[in-house]
């Protein structure tokens, strides 16, 4: 039996999802550590080694200025992940706040609902560009741009989740047992909300990263001196006609791999937090 069948036979569905999550987390973490550990010299221009295709000693090749592409890509991934983390955190907090406010009363709920439905309909790439431009570009601007455009979906989910809990029979029973709003918030609402929050947060990361890449690519994001995947892709665009395919394809593939890892982590997280999992 090969390894895969062996695992399937001994580990149940929940365990498999957790394994996937753990593996993904390790991969991602490992990549980041590797990027950090790499010799800083690899990031400086070395004109003698310009535009080398992937080969021994240069797994990703080098770019037009002779900088090692793997080192740059990994550093870029780090930056993108950082931006993604900050943006996703900010977005999640906004969503949590708004969903909480919506629970205060019918008027509040109506206002929040209207805000969500309106903002969901707006084209968010255009909006992000506007925000990033208005704030003058850079990491901060990108974080703000992504955060301000991504809260609606999570708000909608959390609002529905909160609503479902607060109108449930078991909450009415809890009140009749003498428990106050604080107890209900802590013991009934939060256990439902936290898994959604956690999974929502992790799923927003790839979004945030991809959008950061897009913004930087378009020129409204991170300054070119600081490596980021979007920036790398932007640089690669100019060199495509020269046939230097690795400049665009490899960082792009790294980004894709990172996003898939995040997805795996989200699945693992969901499996861990949910008591009711598919039997297998």
């Amino acid at each position: 039996m090969n390894a895969r069948a062996k695992i399937k036979a001994r580990v149940n569905a929940r365990g498999r999802l957790l394994l996937t999550g753990l593996t993904a987390a390790l991969l991602l973490g490992g990549a980041l550590l590797a990027g950090h550990g790499m010799d800083a010299a690899l990031l400086r221009p070395r004109f003698g080694l310009a535009a080398l295709p992937p080969g021994p000693g240069y797994p990703f090749g080098t770019d037009a200025l002779g900088r090692d592409l793997l080192a740059r890509s990994l550093r870029g991934l780090e930056t993108s992940l950082l931006v993604g983390l900050l943006a996703a955190t900010a977005s999640t907090l906004i969503a949590l706040l708004l969903a909480g406010l919506a629970m205060l009363g019918r008027a509040a709920d109506a206002i929040v609902g209207l805000a969500v439905e309106t903002c969901i309909g707006l084209p968010h790439l255009v909006l992000m560009i506007l925000v990033a431009f208005a704030l003058g570009g850079g990491v901060g601007a990108v974080v703000a741009a992504v955060a301000l455009t991504h809260w609606p979906v999570l708000t909608r989910i959390l609002r529905a989740e909160f609503q479902a809990v607060l109108t449930a029979d078991y909450v009415i029973h809890a009140r009749r047992f003498g428990h106050g709003p604080w107890f209900i918030l802590r013991r009934h609402l939060l256990p439902h909300a936290l898994p959604q929050l956690a999974v929502g947060f992790v799923l927003m990361l790839p979004h945030a990263i991809l959008h950061e890449a897009a913004l930087t690519f378009v020129g409204f994001g991170i300054a070119p001196a600081r490596p980021s995947i979007g920036g790398l892709l932007a640089e690669a665009l100019g060199s495509l006609s020269a046939g230097w395919w690795w400049l665009g394809v490899l960082p792009g593939a790294l980004l894709l791999a990172a996003v898939l890892c995040l997805d795996g982590i989200a699945s693992g997280l969901r499996a861990w937090l949910s008591p009711r999992v598919a039997e297998a």
Binding site: V11, N12, R14, G15, L18, A280
Partner: protein, 262 residues
């Protein structure tokens, strides 16, 4: 007609993070349903009775593990071939119906599934509904607009459209008040008297006893006893197993007595 021989059903269940176990639900069940008789399978919720119906109809979930034999008219039972045609289910709740389609239309669909040609479906559906006291008004309603009793009768109509020889009624009296419950069971009795085999799955012993021919008692997935309905009388001395006797005496109509020892 239907023979269940040493049927056992279990479920694979994840245990913690790594292992899985098989949780037995039904153990070594053997029973038969003949043409023209109503067999009632009685058990508490969780005793595995619905699983029996699901197994016969081939509707067990993917993580179920089955052993033993199911035979229909002597040959091994092939659910896919017989379901809807020779064997019909009267399900437990309207959750089995499409909530977005009017009842009359769904009965017509059932007629189609039973093998009737397109032209014959509408008249057959109308006739079937009428047989159970449901008219055009009911046919126009959506499932959630029907009362519990009416919904049950509509599902009866759907099940009896074709020439199903074996009817399986899963908890037919659930959620119905005594009058409606009796009405549904009477319909089933009439169908049995007309020559079909009827398997009634229920936890309500008192309701089915007047109408069933034989009663099989399930407890925790195991068959305690299969007794003729007439054995349930007096103080239950005619019943073979202590559990069946205790069950009989526990009925409010009889003694309302819990088992010995409280």
């Amino acid at each position: 007609m239907l023979e269940v021989a040493r049927l056992s059903i279990g479920f694979r269940r994840p245990l913690g993070l790594w292992r899985r176990e098989i949780v037995p639900a039904l153990r070594d069940i053997s029973l038969q349903v003949q043409a023209g008789e109503m067999l009632a399978v009685i058990g508490a919720s969780g005793a595995g009775k619905s699983l029996l119906a699901q197994a016969i109809l081939g509707l067990l979930p993917a993580h179920a593990v089955l052993s033993g034999a199911l035979r229909y008219r002597g040959a091994p039972l092939d659910p896919a071939a017989l379901r809807g045609r020779r064997i019909a289910l009267v399900p437990q709740s309207i959750a089995w119906l499409d909530p977005l389609v009017r009842t009359g239309r769904q009965v017509e669909w059932a007629a189609g599934r039973a093998g009737l040609p397109a032209a014959a479906r509408r008249p057959a559906a109308t006739a079937a509904l009428a047989r159970f006291g449901l008219g055009a008004a009911a046919a126009r309603r959506f499932p959630h607009q029907l009362s519990g009793g009416m919904a049950r009768r509509a599902m009866l109509a759907m099940a009896t459209l074709g020439q199903a020889e074996l009817l399986i009624a899963d908890e037919p009296t659930n959620g119905l008040d005594p009058e409606n419950a009796a009405r549904v069971l009477n319909h089933l009795r009439t169908l049995a008297d007309a020559g079909r085999g009827v398997l009634v799955i229920s936890h309500d012993l008192a309701a089915v006893l007047p109408l069933a021919d034989r009663v099989a008692i399930l407890r925790d997935g195991a068959l305690q006893e299969t007794a003729p309905a007439a054995a349930f009388r007096g103080n239950g001395a005619a019943l073979a197993s202590p559990y069946a006797r205790a069950l009989w005496r526990a009925l409010p109509e009889i003694g309302f007595l819990p088992a010995e020892g409280g």
